[in-house]
């Protein structure tokens, strides 16, 4: 147990802040949630019951002679991945600023984090739209269903994280996030990092492994 935790919250049985323990417990449960979605994707990515077969990486020709081009755009998703990783860096820099009472640094780094979050969500909206135009929808085949469910749930988590961080940014702008309350940002940052590490797994599994 860290000295800080014991010193700051002596009233809890564990000596730790209950809110921080709660977010870690939630993150632990989220691991299981995403494990089921990733398993579902891995099991079904090369399976289809009807419609065109999976065509994420290679050209696929249907028995009727219809040709489906590969649709995954690795450069775009790589950029999104890099942006999400940088957002994790920006949010820890925002937290460090908050803990030092540096309001300007907090606002700047949190704004940078938010921009990265908006970019990632925008990239995913573009990607989904592009896939639908190319003929891959939730109903096309089991690859489509498992792909959209997995990446869609991740995108939803990113969106929730953006809303959460935006709320904190507005609070900081109004001067309502002083150093004493930096734990509020630390809890949001833990959620944001988790969303990042989930993508660290999803990116190679979905986009790089054929």
């Amino acid at each position: 147990m860290s000295d800080h935790a014991a010193a700051a919250h002596p009233e809890t049985a564990t000596g730790l802040d209950s809110r921080k323990l709660a977010i870690w417990t939630f993150i632990g449960s989220e691991c299981l949630f995403f494990a089921t979605l990733i398993s579902n994707y891995l099991v079904h990515k090369e399976t289809w019951l009807s419609g065109p077969g999976p065509f994420p990486h290679e050209v696929w020709k249907s028995p009727a002679g219809q040709v489906f081009e590969p649709i995954i755009e690795i450069p775009l998703v790589t950029l999104g991945t890099a942006v999400l990783l940088f957002s994790s860096l920006f949010v820890v820099l925002a937290l460090a600023s908050a803990q030092r009472g540096n309001r300007r640094g907090l606002l700047t780094w949190l704004a940078a984090t938010l921009l990265c979050g908006f970019f990632f969500v925008g990239m995913q909206v573009y990607e989904f739209t592009h896939f639908v135009h190319k003929g891959l929808t939730l109903k096309t085949n089991l690859f489509g269903a498992s792909f959209f469910v997995l990446t869609g749930f991740h995108g939803t988590h990113v969106t929730i994280g953006v809303i959460w961080l935006l709320t904190l940014w507005i609070l900081a702008l109004r001067g309502k996030l002083p150093a004493e309350k930096s734990l509020n940002l630390e809890i949001a940052a833990l959620y944001w990092h988790f969303v990042d590490v989930v993508w660290v797994v999803i990116f190679p599994v979905v986009y790089l492994i054929k």
Partner: protein
């Protein structure tokens, strides 16, 4: 909003310095570039004989790079290296179960696939 607002949250356990955060960020960026580079080298349009020879190692290498990124973010950005071990336990235990679930389902599917094909 903050029930413990009067407590010295700012004086928490020693978190890494901003410089270390930036260094970790650069390492994460390089690891991501390596992942994509490995993909291009192995399966890209210009992959040669060496790339073809690398194909059996592609997935393990990619998973190793991914695990390294995961560990760096969890240890340094999520402060598991400095924070209470209870947090690590609450995170790592479900993570182990999650990994076992994924591996078990893949094994089950592979067995089913082999059995269905008469293997």
């Amino acid at each position: 909003m903050d029930a413990h607002g009067s407590q010295p949250a700012a004086a928490e356990h020693a978190h890494p310095s901003s410089g270390l955060y930036v260094k970790i960020g650069l390492v994460l960026f390089v690891l991501t570039a390596l992942e994509v580079g490995l993909y291009e080298f192995t399966y890209g349009e210009h992959s040669g004989a060496t790339g073809h020879a690398l194909q059996p190692f592609f997935v393990p290498l990619l998973l190793a790079l991914s695990a390294a990124k995961f560990a760096l973010v969890a240890m340094f950005y999520m402060h598991l290296k400095q924070d209470s071990r209870l947090f690590s336990g609450v995170f790592v235990f479900p993570l182990i179960i999650a990994t076992v679930v994924i591996l078990a389902l893949i094994a089950l599917e592979a067995y089913h696939f082999a059995f269905a094909r008469g293997g």
